[in-house]
Amino acid sequence: MNYLLMIYNNEAETAAMNEDSRKKMMAEYTEFTKSIVQSGHFKAGDRLRPVSTASTVRVRNGKAAIADGPFAETREQLGGYYLIDAKSLDEATAIAGRIPGARYGSIEVRPIWPPVA
């Protein structure tokens, strides 16, 4: 079963990190990614640029409206994701718990619909 692990963090806090902590966190992510590639769970994963670079598109009556950023003001923002293959929710949440960002923010774990036949 495929799961999307969405990493939510407070961008302001991440931005305020000092250079050493940032380096340490990146090293932890590299280490973690390597480990789930090796165990065969990894399918994809990326870090997202901050919300300030985001745009939102809506199509209404055939017209596309493009706007700056997402609307909702939230404390935590989507900062990255992993797409994994796990045998159950328990395995997926165990992997999510090992993502370095889980210690600062939170990880939303969502099962993925199987492709339509």
Binding site: M1, Y3, K87, S88, L89, D90, A92, T93, A94, P111
Partner: protein, 425 residues
């Protein structure tokens, strides 16, 4: 038949007698039969239908042909076969052919009726129903429905919601189990203790719901208390010598033993001091006391349930209020406050302190608790303040405190009790 088949009953029993013993077997085996069917069939809904089919078949066949040697194995194998028939019929209608694969699975596989296998399935079912990825209400509802085998209507009644609402809640929970991939297995050892805590919270939730229904006119809903104790016993047999499990079971037994003495026939509250101790259930008390000792002596980290049970044990062991070992109760509350610092426990600690050091000191403790906020809606805090103030002879203040308690108390019997305290000032 792999299950030993049916044997005509040697002793003729009246239809009524057989009927009631079948009921008893259904009641006892419902959860276990379902647990194994879910594993065999890999689907909650299919397993529930299979269980219903098996029970219907038993009602039809047992009175005529006698009880099978092993009713549980009979119910499981009948249920599984009916489910396979059902799948095959559906596939047949869709594709007009019976796939080979299914035809093969219909062969009589051995169903191992040993306790170990059934125990594993029963645990799997409990851990699945109490999975932390389900919300608290769904966990309790699913456990009552699937593990205890209560009807959807009965579960709905316990939650004071309509049957339709409860049915939807159960459907949503089962859909999440299926779609999110919640596994049907005993948790990994690294998280086992944490998951047991979750299961015990559900069991205790059922018990407290029954012990003091959150709203309504009756104070005790015995059925839910009995279900919670049944679950506690089941867990104790499946996870033997677990301190937390034994502690919780002891706690529930020691509370339940006093249930008939806790309210009058008219449904009014009777304080511990005024309870008729001859109405306490001595069997439950003896079992509870034994479990408290075992739980405290289990040699691992002591569970908050065990400490609460030990406090209940001291109350039960004392002949009356004067003979109660209050200093030890204060000590146990202090242990509990380190394990689980909650306002409720702080309040109970203050009440115990009032018994040793007097109302003045207890009032200070409660006032400092109230000053930290968050508990102003908690009617027991105001009721305790009222009692301390009354003891100190500050009757006007006591009246105000009881009045504040009355404003937030939801249960009719508690409201009547508070009103009578005010009238007695």
């Amino acid at each position: 038949m792999a299950t030993g088949g049916l044997k005509p009953a040697l002793i003729r029993r009246s239809a009524g007698e057989i009927g009631s013993s079948i009921e008893e077997i259904f009641r006892r085996e419902a959860g276990r039969v379902l647990a194994t069917l879910i594993r065999l069939l890999g689907d909650f809904d299919l397993a529930e239908e299979a269980q219903q089919d098996a029970f219907a078949a038993a009602l039809e066949q047992w009175p005529m042909r006698g009880m099978p040697d092993n009713p549980r194995a009979w119910l499981i194998s009948t249920g599984r076969n009916r489910a396979i028939d059902r799948i095959r019929r559906e596939v047949f209608f869709r594709e007009n052919i019976v796939p080979r694969e299914l035809a093969e699975t219909n062969e009589e596989a051995e169903i191992d009726p040993s306790e170990a296998i059934f125990g594993d399935d029963a645990l799997r079912l409990i851990f699945t129903c109490c999975h932390p990825a389900l919300n608290d209400e769904a966990q309790i509802a699913l456990t009552l429905r699937e593990v205890c085998g209560l009807s959807t209507q009965a579960v709905a009644r316990a939650f004071l919601v309509s049957e339709e609402t409860m049915a939807q809640r159960l459907v949503r929970a089962k859909k999440k189990i299926r779609d999110a991939g919640i596994p049907y297995e005993t948790p990994h050892p690294s998280v086992l203790d944490q998951r047991i805590e979750g299961v015990l919270a559900v069991v205790y939730g059922v018990f407290t719901e029954g012990y003091a229904a959150t709203a309504g006119s009756r104070l005790i809903d015995v059925e839910l208390c009995a279900e919670a104790i049944r679950l506690g016993r089941l867990l104790d047999s499946l996870l033997p010598k677990n301190s937390a499990v034994m502690g919780l079971l002891a706690l529930m037994l020691l509370h339940d033993a006093r249930h008939s003495a806790r309210v009058t026939d008219g449904g009014d509250v009777i304080l511990l001091d005024n309870q008729d101790r001859s109405r306490w259930d001595q069997g439950e008390i003896a079992e509870g006391l034994l479990l408290v000792d075992k739980s405290l002596g289990a040699g691992c980290q002591v569970s908050p349930y065990a400490v609460q049970a030990a406090i209940a044990a001291l109350h039960v062991r004392a002949v009356d209020r004067q003979a109660t070992d209050w200093p030890q109760i204060i000590g146990l509350y202090e242990v509990l406050l380190r394990l689980q610092p909650t306002p409720v426990i702080e309040l109970n600690h203050a009440v115990a302190v009032s018994m040793v050091d007097g109302a003045e000191r207890a009032l200070n403790l409660v006032d400092s608790l109230a000053a930290r906020g968050d508990v102003t809606q908690y009617h027991l805090l105001h009721a305790a303040r009222g009692r301390f103030l009354e003891q100190l002879g500050r009757l006007e203040d006591a009246r105000d405190a009881y009045g504040a308690a009355l404003k937030t108390a939801a249960l009719e019997p508690e409201r009547r009790f508070l009103a009578s305290r005010i009238a007695g000032l």
